[in-house]
C-alpha cells in the first residue's frame, strides 16, 4: 500500500469530497462525525445541530423504521464484522444503499462504526429501464423468431404441396416421351421438350426453396462418406456441357497437387459445383472461358471456379451469398427464373462441411468463386 503514503495528511479533504453520505457513530449511537455530503443533503446545516445527537434524530425516522439500521449497527459492534449493504426504497421513489463498517482502535476493540449512505435512485431507475428494454427486446426477438419459423414452415409446406402435382406432370411428360401414350409427331415432341425443361426448372426452384428452409432451420443434414472432388467436378461439367455449348463457352478443369479423398456429402458437394457453374455459365458472355481449378493443400482442398464474365461490384461481394439476392439494381430489372438462392445454398452446404466460400472479382474482368473443404 505504497500509494496511500502519498495521500497521508489529506484524509480530511478526501473524506469531505466523497460524494456519499458518511456518518460515524459510537456505541450509544451518538453521531461523532458527518461529512460535507451529509450537510448538503439534510436539513441540518451546522455541526452543532448534529454532533453528539443520537443517530435517530439526525436521519429520518422512516429510514430507521424501514431499515432497522440501529439494530444492524449494534450487530456490527457485537460481531466486529461489517454489514455489507442493503437497498432501501424511500417514499417518492427514492432508492438508497447503505453499508456499515467497524472502526477498530488498537486492542480496545470497536468503539465506532462508519455508515456510508448513497442515493442510488438514478442508478436504480436506469437499471429498471435497462431491464424493461431487455424484456421488450426479448419479446420482440421471440416474435421475430416465431414469424421466421412460420415463414420457414410455410415455405416447407408449400414446397411439399408442389411436389405431388409436379410428380404427376413429370410422369405424364415421361410417358409421352417414352411413347407409352402413342407415337408423337416431331412438333409434339418438340413442345413436350419445352414442357419438360420448364417442369424441371420448376422442380429445381421447389428443391431450392426446400433447401433454403432446411438451412434456416438447421435441418440440412450432411451425410459424409469418402468422396473424390475431381470426379464430382467432372460429372457436373459433363451435365452442364450442353448449357455451356449453347453459348460456345470453353469450360476446363485443372488440378494442382496429388488430390486425396476427403469426407463429404457427394450429393451436396455436387449441388455446390452445379450452383456455382450454372452461375458462371449464365454470367459469362458467349465464347467466354470458365475454369475449374482443384488444389490440394495440407489441411484442405481448395476449389476455384473462374470466369471472364461481367464480374461483381465490391459492394455486392458479400451480399451475393445472402438468400433472395439477385444483383443490385431495381427488382424490376431482375432476370426471371431465379430466386437468388443458389449461392446462399452453396454457402450453407460448404459451411455445413466446415469449409469457407467467398468470391474475388473485378467488374468487367470476371469472377473467381473459391471454396475450401477441410480434409478431416
Amino acid at each position: 500500500m505504497k500509494g496511500i503514503e502519498s495521500v497521508r495528511g489529506y484524509q480530511e479533504e478526501i473524506i469531505e469530497a466523497i460524494p456519499s453520505t458518511i456518518i460515524v457513530v459510537n456505541r450509544s449511537l451518538e453521531v461523532l462525525y458527518a461529512n460535507r455530503n451529509y450537510y448538503a443533503k439534510s436539513f441540518a446545516k451546522r455541526e452543532r445541530d448534529v454532533l453528539g445527537e443520537r443517530l435517530s434524530r439526525v436521519i429520518p425516522q422512516m429510514l430507521i423504521e424501514k431499515t432497522r439500521i440501529d439494530d444492524k449497527i449494534r450487530e456490527v459492534f457485537l460481531t466486529g464484522a461489517p454489514f455489507d449493504g442493503d437497498q432501501l426504497r424511500y417514499p417518492g421513489g427514492m432508492f438508497y444503499f447503505y453499508k456499515i463498517y467497524p472502526l477498530k482502535e488498537g486492542t480496545e476493540g470497536i468503539n465506532k462504526v462508519v455508515i456510508f449512505m448513497e442515493n442510488i435512485t438514478e442508478l436504480t431507475r436506469l437499471e429498471e429501464e435497462l431491464r424493461d428494454s431487455y424484456v421488450k427486446l426479448e419479446n420482440a426477438y421471440a416474435e421475430l423468431k416465431e414469424n421466421d419459423e412460420m415463414k420457414s414452415e410455410f415455405i416447407s409446406t408449400a414446397s411439399h404441396e408442389l411436389r405431388t402435382p409436379l410428380t404427376v406432370i413429370n410422369s405424364y411428360i415421361e410417358m409421352f416421351e417414352e411413347g407409352m401414350l402413342g407415337e408423337l409427331t416431331d412438333t409434339q415432341r418438340e413442345k413436350i421438350q419445352i414442357i419438360r425443361s420448364q417442369t424441371e426448372h420448376m422442380i429445381r426452384l421447389v428443391e431450392d426453396m426446400l433447401d433454403t428452409s432446411r438451412l434456416e432451420s438447421r435441418k440440412l443434414k450432411i451425410h459424409k462418406s469418402p468422396i473424390k472432388i475431381e470426379e464430382i467436378a467432372m460429372k457436373v461439367l459433363e451435365e452442364l456441357s450442353r448449357l455451356a455449348g449453347l453459348k460456345e463457352q470453353t469450360v476446363s478443369l485443372t488440378t494442382e497437387g496429388r488430390l486425396s479423398e476427403i469426407e463429404g456429402d457427394e450429393r451436396r458437394i455436387k449441388q455446390v459445383f452445379n450452383n456455382l457453374l450454372t452461375n458462371a455459365i449464365k454470367y459469362t458472355p458467349d465464347k467466354g472461358k470458365i475454369n475449374v481449378m482443384i488444389k490440394d493443400e495440407p489441411e484442405q482442398v481448395r476449389i476455384l471456379i473462374s470466369d471472364d464474365g461481367i464480374g461483381i461490384a465490391k459492394k455486392d461481394e458479400n451480399k451475393i451469398f445472402q438468400k433472395f439476392f439477385t444483383g443490385s439494381g431495381s427488382s424490376l430489372t431482375r432476370e426471371s427464373g431465379r430466386m437468388g438462392l443458389g449461392l446462399a445454398i452453396a454457402k450453407g452446404i460448404v459451411e455445413a462441411h466446415e469449409g469457407s466460400i467467398w468470391v474475388e472479382s473485378e467488374v468487367g474482368k470476371g469472377s473467381t468463386f473459391v471454396f475450401t473443404l477441410p480434409k478431416i
Binding site: 414446397s159 411439399h160 404441396e161 411436389r163 405431388t164 402435382p165 409436379l166 410428380t167 404427376v168 413429370n170 410422369s171 405424364y172 415421361e174 410417358m175 417414352e178 407409352m180 401414350l181 422442380i203 426446400l210 432446411r214 435441418k219 440440412l220 443434414k221
Partner: protein, 118 residues
C-alpha cells in the same frame, strides 16, 4: 403383378395407374391409410406404393399395421416430404424402399422390379 397404390391426391393415383398398367400391372387404389388396410387384406397385392402424409391414417402407421398382419408385405414409401431422417424412419417401420417425389418412372420401375425379384 398386383399393385396397391395409396395416395390422397386423385391425380397421383391416376398417374400411377397409367404408368403401371402400361407395364402390365393390375392396379388397386386407396386414398388414405385406413382404406389401404382394408384394400390390402382384400387384394393381397404383391407390392404397395405408399404415400406418407394422408388424412385419417398416415403412411408410416399404415405400413406398420399392414406388416403386423402380413410380415411379408412389400411396401415402398413414396413421399413428397423431404425431411431428413424420414427415409430411415420408414425403413425402421418395415418399408422395403423409399422414393422421393418427384421421381423418374425408370427409378420407380427399377425399385418395383428389384423388390419383386428379391
Amino acid at each position: 403383378m398386383r399393385l396397391l397404390v395409396v395416395d390422397d391426391a386423385p391425380q397421383m393415383l391416376k398417374a400411377f395407374r397409367d404408368i403401371l398398367e402400361v407395364h402390365g400391372c393390375e392396379v388397386y387404389e386407396a386414398a388414405n391409410g385406413e382404406e389401404a388396410l382394408i384394400k390390402y387384406s382384400e387384394v393381397k397385392p404383391d407390392i404397395v406404393l405408399m404415400d406418407i402424409l394422408m388424412p385419417r391414417l398416415d403412411g408410416i402407421s399404415a405400413t406398420k399395421k399392414i406388416l403386423q398382419d402380413d410380415p411379408c408385405a412389400k411396401i415402398i414409401v413414396i413421399s413428397a416430404v423431404g425431411k431428413s431422417g424420414l427415409e430411415n424412419e420408414c425403413l425402421v417401420a418395415g418399408a422395403k424402399g423409399f422414393i422421393e417425389k418427384p421421381f423418374k418412372i425408370k427409378d420407380l420401375l427399377n425399385s418395383i422390379n428389384s423388390l419383386v425379384k428379391g
